[in-house]
């Protein structure tokens, strides 16, 4: 019997790995020193632990430890990357290229910079979720200072051709930042192989603690300089002031080490479970639509629309399972997911989408249980759905004149 509720929303956050907690505990208790205290053992112990963790974080992405700037999380990393480059290279140019499916931490940072006078190109994506590389090439001008394209999308899990994007950026002498928050530790990600200059990461997406992240900043060929967004004591080589979150960083390091060592085995297992979930649902239910490319996708991600069943009502029916929906009703904005919209998913289908995020601690029994519950609830709600009834009668729903005001 599976233990309820089941957590299957691992793109939102992941549970802390018990091994990570064990590594952190001494730094939450006896070893409480400030890593910046240079004149006693408490400080030395903290500094040593931070440097060991930094090595592990660097090793996960094939970087040098001196290229890792610790932050409070992915949002700060994204802000530091984009604002840091924009402010540092303002003399060189005022143009930034990004994509419409980026995380809000990138999009809203870019919009902020637009108000400061920077120009931003928001590239569209195709119906699989990919940026067109020719669009990217054409968008680059001699005023372009930064390209920021995420590695893997947090909603649909689509993995961009980062290596090729990095190559294009390098050929044109433009810096390349990637939000690798969902990718790092889940799929192979190497900053040198992929021509990445700056990369954002977050500990809590890879079974580490919340409140700690990192920004990879390339040191040579090219050497990247950033204007800090937080001023103060000059920690992190002046790029990010503030007393280091020692227990958080130690946890991040341990989480990165586990992720690196288990990546091959774990991603194979995630993919197997994801495919079992997908094929079971597709065998039992009709009119399912996968959002985003199925193949170039995070192994644990399944984003699917269940036509004629509104997402929030589906979540309500499977309330012993934690997943998320692109439906408007689950968000404060009352707008369905902008990512799905960018992929050309109609609003009718966007309202019916569910994101499953399978993670390290999900079991096959849980996947079977989730599939069974979803099938049962979708069938029940379709019996209740006037749209399903109309579709079965052969009515083309697109041809119906919907009166939004009675």
């Amino acid at each position: 019997m599976v233990k309820l509720p089941i957590y299957m929303d691992n793109h939102a956050t992941t549970p802390l790995d018990p091994r990570v907690l064990d590594a952190m505990m001494p730094f939450l208790t006896d070893k409480f020193g400030n890593a910046a205290s240079r004149n006693h053992k408490f400080g030395w112990d903290a500094e040593e632990a931070v440097e060991n963790a930094r090595k592990e974080i660097a090793a996960l992405i094939g970087a040098d430890p001196r290229e890792i700037v610790i932050t409070s999380g992915a949002t700060e990393s994204d802000n530091l990357a984009v604002k840091g480059v924009a402010w540092m290279y303002r003399e060189k140019g005022d143009h930034i290229i990004t994509a419409v499916t980026e995380h809000k931490a990138i999009l809203d940072t870019c919009k902020h910079l637009e108000k400061e006078g920077f120009r931003v190109t928001f590239l569209p994506v195709d119906n699989k979720g990919f940026v067109d590389l020719d669009d990217l090439r054409k968008a680059i001008t001699d005023k372009t200072i930064l390209i920021s394209i995420m590695t893997a999308n947090n909603e649909v899990g689509v993995v961009q051709d980062v290596k090729e994007i990095g190559k294009i950026a390098r050929e044109r002498g433009v810096l390349f930042h990637t939000d690798a928050v969902q990718a790092a530790g889940k799929i192979p990600f190497n900053v040198n192989e992929m021509n990445v200059d700056i990369a954002s990461m977050s500990a809590h997406k890879l079974y580490g603690p919340k409140g700690v992240g990192a920004l990879y900043v390339r040191r040579r060929s090219p050497r990247v300089l950033l204007t800090p967004i937080i001023d103060g004591g000059g920690h992190e080589r002046g790029m990010r002031s503030g007393t280091l979150n020692v227990p958080g960083i130690v946890g991040f390091g341990k989480a990165a080490k586990i992720a690196r060592e288990d990546l091959a085995k774990e991603s194979t297992e995630m993919l197997r479970l994801r495919e079992k979930l997908r094929t079971t649902l597709e065998r039992e239910l009709d009119e399912l639509y996968i959002n985003g490319d199925l193949h170039k996708r995070l192994p644990g991600n399944l984003n699917m629309s269940f036509a004629y069943v509104e997402g929030e009502s589906l979540l309500m029916g499977i309330n012993d399972i934690a997943v998320s929906s692109g439906s408007a009703c689950t968000s404060a904005s009352l707008e369905p997911s902008y990512v799905l919209k960018a992929l050309g998913v109609g609003e009718d289908l966007a309202h019916t989408s569910i994101r499953f995020g399978i993670g390290r601690f999900n079991t096959e029994e849980e996947v079977d249980y989730v599939a069974g519950r979803v099938i049962e609830v979708v069938r029940r709600l379709r019996e209740l759905s006037p749209l399903y009834e109309m579709a079965k009668e052969g009515i083309d729903l697109k041809s119906v004149h919907w009166a939004t005001e009675a």
Binding site: Y308, S313, A328, E347, L384, E389, L397, A406
Partner: protein, 129 residues
């Protein structure tokens, strides 16, 4: 979002789910909302010769509150005259189901569905002249 017990009850045990024959002269059908907005309600009433709604059915595409609002609407219209049914206000539904502000549109849609069903029934009868 936390749902009230009444919303959960209607969601788990919706009253009067189903369909009445659309072409039947004693049946009025209201279809309101739009798939793009995430809510579509179909509410049907069957009116007897003394002008009383003797049966009502619904089907709803929408969130739990939308399902509950339309389920409640069918319960309330049954046994009422058309005039009485027209007097049902969305605020009554909000109160009964303890809907939060973001879900008030569900109750508005349910009121619209009742009105649309009655309008459809009246239209059938005017045509007959």
């Amino acid at each position: 979002m936390a749902y009230s017990d009444k919303v959960i009850d209607h969601y788990n045990n919706p009253r009067n789910v189903g369909a009445l024959p659309k072409e039947d002269p004693s049946v009025g059908t209201g279809l309101v909302g739009a798939p793009e907005c995430g809510d579509v309600m179909k509410l049907q009433i069957k009116v007897n010769e003394s002008g009383v709604i003797e049966d009502a059915k619904f089907k709803t595409f929408g969130c739990g509150s939308a399902i509950a609002s339309s389920s409640l609407a069918t319960e309330w219209v049954k046994g009422k005259t058309l005039t009485e049914a027209l007097a049902i206000k969305n605020t009554d539904i909000v109160k009964e189901l303890s809907l939060p502000p973001v879900k008030i549109h569900c109750s508005v849609l349910a009121e619209d569905a009742i009105k649309a069903a009655i309008t459809d029934w009246k239209k059938k009868h005017e045509e007959k002249g």
